[in-house]
């Protein structure tokens, strides 16, 4: 069954059950259906892309589905990101209309360039219920923008078909999810882990608990987990790092599915966490935005998984339903040796049709390969991996300069691009390092820079979202170089660790 059919069915079957708990208030599926239909009446376009200000309230979720039910795709826009970056996204996606539940910071800048802003916070509920829009399944459901090394964010379109494939794979694996479950949704809508927390829940009549945007996320998430019967949640390892000092006092008996993802997952902390969630099965979910949320999964077994870690990291497991994965070398030939390392590539119905307006990037990233007797369109994840005897894949590093910060993908090159532009210094290096609680942060090194570092920081803040802003900036007389003449990033990462 296609995605929106499942939503309609849930709204009918579970009309008096709660669909959302947001802002300390419950909303039923009946209210949800009426709110979606009210938004549909406000949208006069079809087969277009519509901006969605990523608030955290009920009206925003109704707007998101209102966009889908009106036959359009949504592009989440974080109101706290610099207006200039949001304008880049809006121009790239050709957005003419923006929905927001309330007035937002960069609103004036967006209205000035001729955008139509529709406020959905106070729409009276419609008397009708949403109906299927009758658009092609190949049309875009959403576009998420990720960091691009050239300084311009990359748009990743995900079609309705991609999403339906994800939902099929999700329920093939988590078949027991039903209306008695509750999901914790703590992610900004610009991060695709959010999709996993509202879509499957709303397909099955479950309740979605959201974390408000301006709360301290790990604390509010824990508060929801401890005060409500939440049964399904994907946490980021960094969230666990914050809670770790209190593990001894934490007992979450209702949690049945405790997933991790967005960053490398270390088995030490998972082992400790397993005592806090005595009734939960624990999973590591893996997948980039391009492949619709996640497509590989590993169930962590406290009795035997300890032996399976690589550099302390939990395996990323096996591909889910309908996805094929392989390992390739630099020339894109399959790597076949037992336990050999290669770049992880994937093919299947969850794969994006390609980046928005970036033909060059698409040629680099997507390729056709004959594999196991069939020809398929494959995506290069940029992640290095190997496969063990039981068929589980292990992540073992990046083939490029990308890092994960709070689950967001960051091209260090994008930060360097802006730093170079402002300082006019050719030798700059943004490096990732682990801070004292084990979370990844960025430090920016500049070669012989005599200007004010605070001004560099201010400039970056005007250009980049907050998760890409370096935690510190230093000037060195010379950046260290390794024997092949390249900037020695490992040495800089060690230096950054000592500086913080």
């Amino acid at each position: 069954m296609m995605l929106l059919e499942q939503i309609i069915k849930a709204c009918e079957s579970f009309s008096e059950r709660n669909a959302f708990f947001t802002g300390e208030q419950y909303y039923t599926y009946r209210e949800f259906a009426a709110a979606i239909a009210a938004v549909v009446e406000q949208v006069h376009e079809r087969n277009s892309l519509i901006g969605l200000i990523s608030e955290d309230d009920f009206a925003t979720y109704a707007s998101l589905f209102g966009i889908l039910f009106s036959g359009n795709g949504f592009v989440p826009i974080n109101p706290d990101s610099p207006p200039e970056r949001n304008l880049q996204i809006i121009r790239q996606a050709g957005i003419r209309t923006i929905l927001s539940s309330r007035p937002f910071k960069s609103q004036n800048e967006l209205v000035e360039v001729g955008l139509r802003c529709v406020f959905t916070g106070n729409l009276p509920p419609a008397k009708t219920v949403p109906a299927l829009p009758g658009v092609s399944e190949e049309s875009t459901a959403y576009i998420i923008f990720t960091s691009g090394s050239t300084g311009i964010p990359k748009g990743v379109p995900i079609t309705r078909k991609n999403i339906s494939a994800f939902i099929n794979a999700f329920f093939d694996y988590f078949g027991n999810i039903d209306e008695r479950d509750s999901f914790l949704q703590m992610y900004d809508l610009t991060f695709d882990a959010s999709v996993m927390h509202y879509l499957p829940a709303l397909c099955r009549g479950a309740c979605v608990y959201t974390v408000p945007r301006h709360e301290i996320k790990y604390l509010y998430a824990y508060k929801l987990l401890s005060e409500h019967p939440i049964s399904f949640s994907l946490l980021m390892p960094s969230t666990l790092n914050y809670l770790r000092p209190y593990f001894k006092k934490i007992r979450l008996n209702d949690l049945r599915y405790s997933l991790f993802g967005g960053e490398a997952v270390f088995q030490q902390i998972i082992q400790e966490w397993s005592d806090c969630v005595p009734n939960a099965r624990i999973f590591n979910a893996y997948g980039p935005t391009e492949a619709s949320i996640f497509f590989m999964i590993y169930e962590w077994d406290p009795a035997k998984s300890g032996r399976k870690a690589f550099n302390g990291m939990v395996p990323i497991g096996k591909p889910m339903k309908d996805t094929v994965v392989a390992l390739v070398d630099e020339n894109l030939n399959p790597v076949t040796g037992k336990g050999a390392t290669g770049e992880l590539v994937m093919a299947g119905p969850q794969l994006t049709p390609g980046y928005l307006n970036q033909p060059g990037k698409n040629r680099e990233t997507f390729f056709t390969m004959e594999y196991q007797g069939e020809s398929g369109r494959f995506y290069r994840t940029g992640d290095l991996a190997f496969k063990d005897e039981e068929g589980d894949y292990m992540f073992c590093g990046r083939a490029d300069n990308q890092v994960q910060i709070q689950g967001f993908r960051v091209e260090l090159g994008e930060i360097e691009h802006h730093a170079r532009k402002f300082t006019k210094i050719p030798n700059v290096a943004a490096v990732a390092f682990q801070n004292e609680v084990g979370s990844v942060q960025i430090h920016l090194f500049l070669e012989s820079y005599s200007g004010k570092k605070k001004e560099v920081n201010e400039y970056l803040k005007a250009k980049l979202p907050s998760y890409m802003i370096p935690a510190g900036i230093s000037s060195l007389e010379q950046l260290p170089v390794s024997s092949n003449g390249k900037i020695d990033r490992k040495a800089l990462a060690r230096l950054a660790e000592n500086l913080h």
Partner: protein, 80 residues
């Protein structure tokens, strides 16, 4: 210790964590008032306060902080 003195000392910790010399905290100051007050800086701030005053907070105490005033009053109680 006087509450005003606790505020003064906590204010210094805030300046250090948020790298902003102009920060002035009041009883009602909360995460949405200060740029950069997120999960990481919150955790760093809690750790710095615990170290400075030689106290420990429980998780449910931290959960109930609505603003800087709540935290300063609890510091005062803990200092006895």
């Amino acid at each position: 210790m006087e509450l005003a003195e606790i505020f003064k000392q906590v204010n210094e910790i805030f300046k250090d964590i948020f790298e902003e010399d102009d920060i002035v905290i009041e009883a009602e100051t909360s995460a949405k008032d200060i740029d950069g007050w997120d999960s990481l800086t919150h955790m760093q701030m809690i750790t710095a306060v615990e170290k400075h005053f030689k106290i420990k907070f429980e998780l449910n105490e931290i959960l109930n902080f609505k603003n800087a005033g709540d935290m300063c009053r609890l510091i005062q109680t803990k200092l006895g």
